[in-house]
């Protein structure tokens, strides 16, 4: 028998031995008082451990919260639309910053929403970027839905509304090429790069432009093509504490490289926890492809 006598004694205490093993241990216990004393000490410890209260929890609340979060038709807690769509390009002329409520089907997508012009109708779009953690400066933009002066400084806690041709400067750097706007988003990661911490967004990159975005430990790089990605950050209470990101990506044109894997046009994939998997298919993929095609065709 490969188990030590200590392990056998523990297994005996735990009722994890078969009849033959149990018989052997009981014979040893009768013969060896020191073994019997050891078992008695183990029993005392076992009783003490068994009397420790288990971590308190509310199973029903867990079930309810999980269902509330997973149910696709659930209503967001905040007044902001759940689905956000944002992309800002620079020199390539691809500048866009809009948010969408998720349409019920592709045909319900209002072309006016998808066009990269500035609209202030919050029922159609919301343009919310809550500045968290560090000041930002923006050019030609608006604050609270109203036009504001150029070079306005924003501070943590401000809500900023981005227009399609806004530019954003942070610490003297023009950072408007890739700017993800979402309600309650911590826009800047530890390394100063854009990072979506909560909310949902859609972004796209124009052909020829590159786009990098950190999703957890994954970095997307678009090479010679257009890519669109729906970024979903879990909307649970915990999402405020853990920058857990799930990306659902549709490659519209060209090629998408994630780590050492390459995805051709037409591919769809999901990324979470730095892991990549073929996604089959991503949520609302048809709508998503149509939107991405509209965006990238401009």
């Amino acid at each position: 028998m490969s188990r030590s006598s200590d392990e056998l004694l523990n297994a005996y205490l735990d009722g994890a031995l078969d009849a033959a093993e149990r018989g052997n241990v009981e014979r040893d216990l009768e013969r060896d008082p020191s073994l019997a004393a050891k078992l008695a000490a183990l029993r005392d410890l076992d009783e003490a451990l068994a009397n420790i209260a288990s971590p308190a929890g509310n199973d029903a609340a867990i079930v309810a919260q999980v269902e509330r979060t997973l149910r696709p038709q659930s209503i967001p807690r905040s007044p902001w639309p759940l689905i956000l769509a944002t992309a800002l390009g620079l020199a390539a002329g691809f500048l866009l910053a809009v948010e969408f409520e998720r349409p019920a089907d592709p045909s319900s997508l209002d072309p006016a929403i998808a066009t990269p012009h500035w609209t202030k109708d919050p029922s159609a779009c919301a343009y919310a970027s809550k500045v968290i953690g560090r000041p930002e400066r923006m050019h030609r933009n608006s604050k609270g839905g109203e036009p504001i002066a150029a070079d306005t400084n924003f501070v943590a806690g401000d809500t900023v509304f981005l227009a399609a041709d806004d530019r954003m400067v942070v610490d003297g750097r023009d950072e408007s090429r890739v700017y993800l706007a979402a309600n309650s988003v911590a826009n800047w990661g530890d390394d100063g790069r854009p990072a979506l911490r909560e909310g949902r967004a859609v972004f796209a990159s124009a052909q020829g432009s590159d786009l990098t975005f950190d999703a957890g430990e994954a970095t997307l790089t678009v090479v010679d093509g257009a890519c669109a990605a729906e970024i979903e950050v879990f909307q649970s209470k915990v999402a405020k504490k853990i920058p857990e990101t799930l990306l659902r990506v549709v490659v519209v044109r060209g090629e998408l490289i994630v780590g050492d894997r390459r995805f051709a046009a037409g591919s769809s994939l999901a990324i979470a926890d730095g892991l990549v998997s073929e996604d089959q298919p991503p949520i609302d993929s048809q709508w998503f492809v149509e939107l991405a095609t509209q965006l990238s065709a401009r």
């Binding site: 297994a11 994890a16 410890l45 451990l49 420790i52 915990v238």
Partner: protein, 174 residues
């Protein structure tokens, strides 16, 4: 529901059946809670991590090839969820929350303080089996499945964990 196995429930959960999700949660929640208790510091947000574990598990469910292995799949996610939280905590991105902690931490009367401290001082691999055994299963087989171990390994770890606890308590450690 006893006749339904995890594989069946996973299939139904993949078809967005809320009742199947609920059954999976209720079958595994004590184990996940025990594991989170083990992997988080005292006053860590156990219930939040349990919730996050199941959310991730259902969102990533399509990746689960062996449908009957939902328990170990969820346990693996719980370990990652807690590790993420600890990393975020170390970076100062999260804070312990008193209300959550008060609800989630086991009762700690004076007589149990030393034992709690001794358990907390155990290396993680031993603390896991103690938590799973005493807070959830009392079954080598279930613990082995959750942690991806053999039953013999669970037996060995439990024996070692108890030995360390006895030494710690006898020496006034913890």
């Amino acid at each position: 529901m006893h006749d339904v196995n995890d594989a069946d429930l996973v299939e139904r959960a993949l078809a967005a059946d809320p009742a199947a999700r609920e059954s999976l949660i209720l079958r595994h929640v004590r184990r996940i809670r025990a594991l989170c208790w083990s992997r988080l510091p005292p006053h860590g947000p156990i219930e939040d991590m349990v919730q996050e574990t199941f959310l991730r598990a259902f969102r990533l469910l399509a990746r689960l090839e062996r449908r009957e292995s939902f328990g170990s799949f969820a346990a693996g996610i719980a370990v990652r969820v807690c590790a993420d939280w600890r990393k975020a905590s170390a970076r100062g991105e999260v804070a312990l929350e008193g209300e959550i902690a008060a609800a989630a931490e086991p009762d700690r009367d004076a007589g149990h303080d030393r034992l709690h401290a001794a358990i907390r001082a155990l290396p993680e691999l031993y603390r896991d089996v103690i938590a799973l055994f005493y807070f959830a299963d009392r079954s080598y087989r279930e613990i082995a499945a959750a942690l991806g171990l053999t039953e013999s390994a669970v037996n060995a770890r439990l024996a070692k964990a108890r030995s360390l606890l006895r030494e710690s308590l006898a020496g006034g450690g913890g």
